[in-house]
Symmetry: C2
Subunit: 107 residues, 2 copies
């Protein structure tokens, strides 16, 4: 299995553990967006929304660039790819694949 | 894109955001383990270790079964699979795939 930097994976998975932040990543799937475009559907204060963007940026999941007075965000796919590969490696390496162990019913 | 239960994804990604918990999942890749076998390499108090197991269990990532006096843990792969599919969907749906946007250098 590829070895990833554990601290980076901590930040990426923590950033993904929030539905607002996951929604922002989905908004950025088809291309970059301004901060105000991104904030609009979320119905929260801009201060609160900027905190979410900062968590995504600290995890390396998005980048911010300034174009005049407009701040635009874009996906930075590599950390997400590393998280996906980590998860994929874990699920694929099990004997019998993803469905192995499905007979065990969680308590 | 498949729609997953957001609260479940919150728990799964939060559980994955810790290197000890990711290490436990890797220990369980090849089959179930007793709690003491799992705890041994981590060099922490059993109380602290049990908290990590509880987070994994609450996220549905592991199940615990009691065999006499031994508590054994096993992977429950479905939530991990859902997280992997969510990430895969996000990274694959971008024009140009995973490497699109890589020219944007994070600040």
């Amino acid at each position: 299995m590829v070895h990833f930097k554990e601290s980076q994976l901590d930040l990426v998975f923590a950033a993904l553990a929030d539905s607002t932040r996951r929604s922002v990543l989905r908004q950025l799937e088809i291309g970059s967006r301004s901060v105000s475009e991104l904030a609009q559907p979320h119905g929260m204060s801009l201060t609160g929304f900027m905190k979410h963007l900062r968590v995504l940026e600290d995890a390396g999941l998005i980048s911010r660039t300034k174009e005049g007075r407009i701040v635009r965000c874009a996906l930075s796919p590599r950390p997400m790819q590393e998280a996906a590969v980590w998860l994929g490696g874990l699920t694929k390496s099990r004997p019998g694949g993803l469905n192995a162990g499905s007979a065990i019913i969680p308590a």
